[in-house]
């Protein structure tokens, strides 16, 4: 047996059929690593089909996790790949690093399976060009699992479904992970199914012991614990769950009932599901008949005085546009969460992209400004969902929060917040001072933020609506002069939100010639790339946008300071287009539209050439 390799971080990728339990295996290993003091970032990568034909390339489901210290991304390439069948290997071979470890199920590499995966020779490793560069660890996962459970009296199908636990046992041995913790997580997962718990525990333990007894002649890993994290209580949280929690916290802190109107859509559905489960905390989350109704029920609840939210993905945002315009016109606080996916149309429902930015900014009829913000990590979805709510309630404006499939489904370490330390939220509700002659347009003349009054409040009755109103009387008005004034007022109201936004920070080498600019979910990859560039002697600065409309007040100062500015984003240049209009100068672009996050390697390579 080789010496345990000490490393700062390691990337493990589990892959198999979409029914092989790869997401569960990956999640368990991630939790296990975090509990032992590692930082983690995960990247579930799964097909749109729930159960694609077995053994085919289209049905391969993957789960990648990066564990260790200084983790900002799920990693470009894998140190360890677990492949449950030839199709999974074929799809994922390209992520294998030189000298990485490949664990595969020999029982699934028969002639039939090879043919299904489209191999043309009988040696998959030479065919994929990895036979010389990768440490092969062949294990009869299927047979060994069957052997392990032979006395359990389970049907063959259920037995085979446990083989992912054998693989996890092997991985636990490889990474010196104590089994008792893994069994503890299994206990939570199968709390209501004691027979399955027993079977999975047995297979997991047998997998671990098998590797131990065999003294596999491969690298084992000792991964460093995170050393620069603030002390506190931590958990692992997926972006969509963090988003839901941020909304719940904002509801509590603002004293407004939290209402969600939503319609199931990949990859945003988790937000609906999380909030539907929060009746205990008084959250009214309803699943309605369509996307339009999701937005409209939220607008109704906002008219009634709630923190009102709708959640969706790109196609849903398109359907909600008209109603969003109504919220602009009626000056109602609503939060719209768009968990972006590959488009246009149905596009790539399970893959990530940043292609809804221009739709969020401009995708409505008329001059229709809204606040647009974006989260940058799975865990900061909590913060930005909270801030989206705060901005909406304090400024009587719709706010669109952009996250994406990568953030929503991925997970990260999250330090549990103290709710009392979150920023205060002061909804802009009308008081006695506005009662006399209250109208739908009664507003703070300085900020242009109108006052919120809702049914049930005596003395504040008013009529609101989607028709243009007279600036002074709130009566329906078709006057051109008045319309121009109202258009400017709505723009000014959104613009003044910048007064309360944090400044844009610059990371990396502030004095570099080159500034890397990103927004939203690319933060981790861009930061890692910039760190690497600076470490390799290529001075690079980095500015990342979470607040997009309005921009932070110092955005211009930052952007004009650098000789070269390269905007990196997962689309064809939407932020670059936007920023050119806001802060005109020359911008370089680096774009990727492959339904996948950036890799740090490709960013580094490209930025070096600038």
């Amino acid at each position: 047996m080789k010496q345990a390799e000490n490393c700062k971080s390691v990337v493990i990728r589990f892959c198999g059929d979409s029914g092989d339990g790869m997401q569960l295996t990956g999640t368990l290993f991630s939790n296990l690593s975090a509990i032992l003091g590692n930082e983690i970032a995960t990247f579930p990568d799964y097909p749109a089909e729930i159960r694609a034909p077995q053994g085919t390339l289209g049905g391969v489901s993957g789960f990648q996790v990066h564990v260790g210290t200084g983790i900002h991304t799920p990693g470009d390439e894998a140190d360890v790949l677990v492949a449950m069948n030839p199709a999974a290997l074929k799809v994922n071979a390209k992520v294998l690093k030189p000298m990485s470890v490949l664990i595969f199920d020999t029982d699934s590499f028969g002639e039939k399976e090879m043919e299904k995966a489209g191999y043309t020779t009988d040696n998959p490793f030479t065919e994929l060009g990895i036979s010389e560069t990768v440490q092969l660890v062949p294990i009869a996962l299927t047979k060994l699992t069957r052997e392990s459970l032979k006395d359990f009296g389970m049907d063959a199908k259920s037995v085979d479904r446990c083989k992912n636990m054998f693989a996890l046992g092997v991985i636990c041995w490889l990474f010196n992970r104590p089994l008792d913790k893994a069994i503890h997580f299994l206990g939570n997962k199968f709390a209501k199914k004691p027979a399955l718990l027993e079977a999975n525990t047995k297979v997991l333990t047998d997998g671990f012991n098998y590797s131990h007894n065999l003294h596999l002649n491969i690298s084992t890993f000792h991964v460093s614990e995170a050393d620069d994290l603030p002390h506190g209580r931590y958990t692992i949280i997926a972006g969509n769950k963090a988003t839901a929690f941020g909304l719940v916290a904002a509801g509590i802190r603002s004293g407004r009932q939290l209402f969600l109107g939503s319609y199931p859509i990949t990859p945003a559905t988790d937000i609906l599901q999380e909030l539907a489960a929060r009746k205990d905390l008084g959250v009214k989350a309803i699943q309605v008949e369509d996307e339009i109704s999701g937005m409209c029920t939220a607008i109704g609840a906002a008219f009634g005085g709630d923190l009102a939210v709708s959640s969706t993905s790109g196609p849903g945002l398109a359907l909600k546009s008209e109603a969003l315009g109504l919220a602009v016109m009626a000056e109602l606080p609503v939060v719209l969460i768009d968990v972006m996916r590959g488009g246009p149309s149905t596009g790539l429902p399970t893959k990530t992209e940043q292609t809804d930015l221009l739709q969020a900014l401009y995708g409505r009829n008329g001059e229709s400004p809204v606040v647009v913000i974006a989260a940058s990590t799975s865990d900061d979805c909590f913060h930005y969902a909270y801030m989206a709510s705060k901005i909406a309630l304090e400024n009587m404006t719709p706010v669109i929060l952009l996250t994406d499939a990568y953030l929503g489904n991925g997970s990260a370490l999250w330090k549990l917040p103290n709710i009392n330390e979150l920023p205060e939220i002061h909804p802009h509700i009308a008081t006695e001072a506005q009662r006399e002659g209250f109208k739908a347009i009664t507003r703070d003349e300085e900020t242009k933020v109108r006052y919120w009054a809702f049914p049930g409040m005596e003395g504040f009755m008013h009529r609101n609506g989607g028709l243009e109103k007279d600036y002074k009387t709130a009566a329906i008005s078709t006057s051109g002069v008045n319309h121009a004034e109202m258009v400017k007022m709505r723009q000014q109201k959104v613009q003044q939100v910048a007064n309360s936004l944090p400044e844009l920070k610059v990371f990396g080498n502030q004095d570099a010639d080159t500034l890397v600019v990103g927004w939203g979910s690319t933060y981790g990859h861009l930061l890692s790339a910039v760190n690497q560039l600076n470490a390799e002697g290529h001075p690079t600065a980095f500015a990342h946008f979470n607040y997009i409309c309005p921009l932070p007040k110092n955005a211009k100062d930052v952007l004009m300071k650098y000789k070269k500015v390269v905007v990196c984003e997962l689309n064809n240049g939407q932020f670059a287009t936007y920023i050119r209009s806001q802060v005109p100068r020359e911008y370089l672009q680096y774009n990727k539209i492959e339904g996948q996050p950036f890799s740090v390697g490709e960013l580094v390579e490209h930025i070096k050439t600038l």
């Binding site: 003091g37 009746k279 009214k284 609840a301 917040p417 008013h462 989607g466």
Partner: protein, 332 residues
């Protein structure tokens, strides 16, 4: 105590002179005074179209929204705040064409809102195109050779969506309108009052068959729960079942007495007879007016609130910290 004036806003009413909507507005304000809910506890929500201007004329909370979405916006408001009385004003286009999906789903959920469905069988605000309730062959600006499609009867949709309340009235018949509106307000669930209204400009005479008071007695039947289905100038006509069909008979002819006449049961869960009544057509049958269906059923907003109370009584999660406590966690 309130009078109809308490529900009148200071806005000038801008419907065309002679439009049936004026009469419905007056009936609504009078009915509201009798119902007695304070104006600030009421929200009137509408979509787009002539009838959807109604909220501007009400001295309540009002929201004039977007085309077809009134039902969805009303659903959000009522679910969030069941304590508010919610009325929805909508038209045949707003409700049955662009807003059809929201309409059937609000009816299916039985959310406790009161819907005034102004049916003039035409698109007025866009100046005269046919609507989903225009009769087949109807000539309009968008159907210069007559429509080739079959119209909806709103009651069909409502009953198909398992609706619990349906009433019908005519713009000029103020007593029936107020009666229907009061019954709608009392009913827990989605109450739909189809208001047959005339459009002077683009579909004048939409309901001319029953417009005059003299004709109305013979050509309509105003249904009342628990009362025999008798109608006519001389109160001598009635409805009986003939096999599966409704039939008009004359009391005193062929040995028919009042005892033979059907008694209206609006509270009957089985919708079959309500459907037959609502679908009666001229000239052979009288048009059914009044409260056709009014059955009890749990309403959505109440069910949502009840479920929340049940969960809260059982759950150990009372605060945000409790919620965090449910997560797998560790110190680092």
């Amino acid at each position: 105590m309130f009078t109809n004036k308490d529900y009148k806003s200071d806005q000038a009413v801008r419907w065309c002179p002679g439009c049936g909507d004026h009469a419905i507005l007056n009936s609504l304000q009078k009915a509201m005074a009798e119902i007695g809910v304070a104006p600030h506890q009421i929200a009137v929500i509408s979509g787009i179209g002539c009838s959807s201007r109604l909220p501007y004329y009400m001295n309540t909370y009002g929201f004039h929204t977007i085309h077809g979405r009134g039902a969805a916006i009303a659903t959000g408001l009522k679910t969030a705040h069941p304590e508010i009385t919610v009325w929805q004003a909508t038209g045949d286009g707003d409700c049955l064409a662009i807003g059809g999906n929201h309409f059937i789903h609000s009816v299916r959920r039985n959310i406790d809102i009161n819907v005034l469905l102004f049916n003039n069988r035409i698109y007025g605000l866009t100046k005269g195109q046919y609507s989903p309730t225009s009769p087949k062959g109807f000539v309009s600006k968008s159907s210069p050779f007559g429509t080739v499609e079959r119209p909806f009867n709103p009651a069909e949709l409502l009953l198909g969506a398992r609706g619990t309340f349906f009433a019908r009235t005519l713009d000029v018949d103020l007593p029936t309108s107020q009666m229907c509106m009061k019954a709608a307000a009392l009913h827990k669930g989605t109450s739909v009052v189809e208001c047959l209204v005339n459009c002077m400009i683009y579909n004048n005479g939409a309901h001319s068959w029953i417009a005059s008071k003299e004709d109305r007695a013979d050509r309509t039947i105003v249904l009342e729960h628990g009362k025999p289905m008798i109608f006519g100038k001389d109160r001598n006509k009635g409805l009986v079942l003939d096999g599966w069909d409704l039939k008009v008979v004359t009391i005193g002819e062929n040995g028919i007495t009042e005892k033979d006449i059907l008694v209206h049961d609006a509270k009957c869960q089985d919708p079959v007879l309500h459907y037959k009544l609502a679908m009666m057509q001229a000239p052979d049958m009288p048009i059914a007016m009044g409260v056709i269906r009014d059955v009890e059923c749990e309403c959505y907003d109440e069910a949502v609130a009840n479920q929340m109370a049940e969960v809260q009584a059982k759950s150990k999660v009372k605060t945000f910290d409790d919620l965090l406590g449910t997560l797998e966690q560790w110190d680092m």
